[in-house]
């Protein structure tokens, strides 16, 4: 996993609540058996005016000029500002894969759906929860100032605005540790192999019907 320590980047505002994973990456693109290549279809139904399908030449598609990611001022954005309950719906990890493949490293919103939250951290994306009032202020600042960027410091858990204002955020220690060090969960868990084996043995003795053969 890509490490995340500190990130400075342009902010794009997606002013809409309950953005679901079907909206982040529509189902026709889930047929891929790879983890990469989803970026061109991120927010496909908002981004393009025509219906997308896998394998098409996206350079020939007509872009929706009203969608933020198609506007000149947000080209190269790597921080997405969003509204409450971002990432609700299905468990498809294709959603964070698409965000990461497009170039997003951070999403800031008042709340996130649980499964999407887990999936994002496993793909090197930092999700920051800020209260609605702060998110609202950031929306206004981004819309008012072209080229608005934020400095995200994971180590010290703070966001620094261009005006020098500081927003502190919380993140659980384990997820922070994994992101800062780019650690693979499986490798870490397998360090506990003896504990898992011992548990499994006790569990099998207590409830043998949970094991077949």
């Amino acid at each position: 996993m890509q490490k995340f320590e500190r990130h400075q980047g342009l902010v794009a505002p997606l002013d809409r609540a309950n953005v679901d994973t079907d909206l982040i990456i529509p189902k026709q693109f889930l047929k891929s058996i790879k983890r990469t290549g989803f970026g061109v279809n991120l927010f496909d139904e908002l981004r393009y005016l025509d219906e997308g399908y896998p394998g098409q030449d996206v350079s020939k598609r007509s872009l929706n000029p009203d969608f933020i990611l198609n506007q000149d001022r947000y080209q190269g954005a790597s921080i997405l500002l969003a509204r409450r309950n971002f990432g609700c719906g299905s468990s498809r990890e294709h959603a964070p894969w698409a965000l990461a493949d497009f170039g997003f490293r951070v999403v800031i919103a008042p709340s996130f759906a649980d499964i999407f939250y887990n999936n994002s951290f496993k793909n090197g994306i930092l999700l920051i929860t800020l209260d609605e009032e702060k998110v609202d202020r950031l929306f206004k600042a981004v819309e008012a100032n072209e080229g608005y960027s934020l400095d995200i410091d994971l180590e010290h858990q703070r966001i620094v605005t261009p005006e020098g204002e500081i927003f502190e955020f919380s993140v659980d220690e384990f997820r922070k540790h994994c992101l800062l060090n780019g650690l693979d969960d499986i490798g870490l868990t397998l360090q506990d192999e003896p504990a898992i084996r011992a548990f499994e043995q006790r569990h099998r003795e207590a409830r043998p019907w949970l094991f077949r053969g």
Partner: protein, 481 residues
């Protein structure tokens, strides 16, 4: 000390290790696999040179991507016309074979939607932890199993370690007391709950559904309720064990037998919340007040009574909610204050992991019997949840009832719930759907989904628009013996 909730009990029975920061390793008893969220997990195992920790904990079947027409299914995988879908289904077969995982392949009678297949086989048992790379894994909580929908990285993690990294959730109880009215079903209960608490109302919680109206439901109805816990934001839905749970599981292929069955049953009776358990949040709902529900918007919380109307965004105070409503009405092509019964439909879909079990099909057939699908309906389809549900329905003659009424009778799979295969809406079409999500584009680009119960979907197919199933003559009366 206060008693434990069912969730607390399941959590502590599976806790391998808890770190100081609250992150825990919990042991996973069952993983269900399908073709869409597993290929990258198997690839990850292969690249790291790892093997599955415990083969017998896994069970696989293709469901999301499979065609549902007999002409395509007759030829097995080679009948899949979409080459990209074919690769995905074939990849699942190849991975299961290479790693030695049991799979019900496309034309095995036991194939079907993972969340129908698991319980039907007894592969989901009370007291288990169950995971699947699908958010509707919450379904299995109807058996007092701690079931989580997970992402692909977690699928790989469980394959490799038999554990999931998790943090303990908070406890919520949704208590539905009293008797449901005639023609009101499990689907209406859960839609009403989501309408009440919102799509993020359960975020961070495990929701236990309790109360006499829940106890009165069959296992099929309980699965419908738990299935949609995720639409209220909760990864986990739960219902305590009772005799209905145990009778459903008796003699299922994967269920224990003989002395093990007796020991298991004795253990399962403990899988209920203690009387003095404390929940972080309790929501109470009067079953008698629940009407048949219809969703009008693009989020499952945008739902109302069949006797109701589309809301007026101008009457909403919260600005974010108001803009959401305006956007939803524009997408859905509906006007403020439009009566729900005036919404005209183009397609009807009866199926999905929410409502494709035998009882769902019986409910729909009861309404369809002796009637005809309205001429204005372009397609009304019934997609059984598994090959075994299909066989049972055919043994009861339900397929003939549907066919005579003008419904199509299809092969099992996820089908138009998420439209990964050819079953989809065209732009602008309105669909009465027994599925679980009405998100933009979910059932097809530009498609407009209305979530309803199987009986309400069948009634809408016949009328061509939404109608109160309770007003249809005979449809909701008990059958004559």
């Amino acid at each position: 000390m206060a008693g434990q909730t069912l969730y607390d009990k399941l959590w502590s029975q599976h806790l391998v290790k808890e770190r100081d920061d609250g992150t825990a390793l919990i042991y996973i008893d069952r993983q269900l696999l399908h073709e869409v969220t597993s290929p990258q997990a198997f690839e990850g195992l292969r690249l790291a040179g790892r093997k599955p920790w415990r083969l017998d904990a896994n069970l696989a079947t293709p469901d999301h991507n499979v065609p549902t027409t007999l002409v395509e299914r007759a030829e097995g995988n080679t009948g899949i016309k979409d080459p990209v879908s074919l690769i995905q289904v074939q990849t699942l077969d190849d991975n299961c074979e290479a790693f030695g995982i049991e799979e019900f392949r496309i034309n095995d009678a036991r194939q079907g939607i993972v969340h129908v297949v698991g319980p039907e086989q007894g592969a989901t048992l009370p007291g288990m932890t169950v995971v699947c790379g699908d958010s509707h894994t919450a379904t299995h909580g109807a058996f007092a199993a701690l079931a989580h929908g997970i992402g692909t990285s977690e699928v790989e993690h469980v394959l490799a370690t038999q554990c999931l990294l998790a943090q303990k959730m908070k406890n919520m109880q949704v208590r539905v007391e009293g008797k449901l009215g005639t023609g009101v079903t499990a689907k209406d209960i859960v839609l009403a709950v989501i309408g009440r608490i919102g799509t993020a109302g359960g975020t961070g919680y495990a929701i236990e559904f309790a109360g006499s109206a829940i106890r009165d439901l069959s296992m099929e109805g309980r699965m419908t309720v738990c299935n949609m816990a995720i639409e209220a934001g909760a990864r986990v839905g739960l219902i305590g064990v009772d005799d209905i749970t145990i009778e459903y599981l008796r003699n299922r292929p994967f269920a224990p037998t003989a002395e093990q069955w007796e020991a298991a049953v004795a253990d399962w009776h403990n899988l209920v919340s203690d009387d003095d358990a404390v929940f972080d949040k309790v929501v109470e709902i009067d079953a008698a007040e629940i009407e048949p529900q219809v969703s009008w918007g693009t989020s499952p919380e945008m739902v109302t009574n069949i006797s109701g109307e589309v809301p007026d965004p101008d009457a909403v105070a919260d600005d974010t909610v108001k803009r959401g409503y305006l956007r939803a009405l524009e997408y859905m092509g509906l006007a403020p204050k439009q009566k729900i019964t005036d919404i005209r439909l183009d397609k009807v879909f009866i199926g999905s992991c929410t409502n494709s079990r035998i009882e769902d099909l019986r409910e729909a057939a009861k309404v369809a019997k002796g009637n005809k699908v309205a001429d204005s309906i372009k397609l009304a389809m019934v997609v059984p949840g598994s090959g075994l549900v299909k066989r049972q329905a055919e043994a009861e003659g339900l397929d003939q009832i549907f066919l005579e009424a003008g419904f199509e009778w299809r092969e099992p799979g996820c089908s138009m719930c998420l439209a990964m295969n050819a079953d989809k809406l065209d732009p602008g079409e309105h669909c009465a759907s027994t599925s679980n999500r009405n998100f933009e584009g979910r059932q097809g680009y530009g498609g407009r989904t209305h979530l309803v119960s199987p009986a309400m979907a069948a009634a809408a197919a016949i009328a061509g628009h939404f109608v109160d199933v309770r007003q249809l003559k005979d449809a909701t009366q008990p059958e004559e013996v």
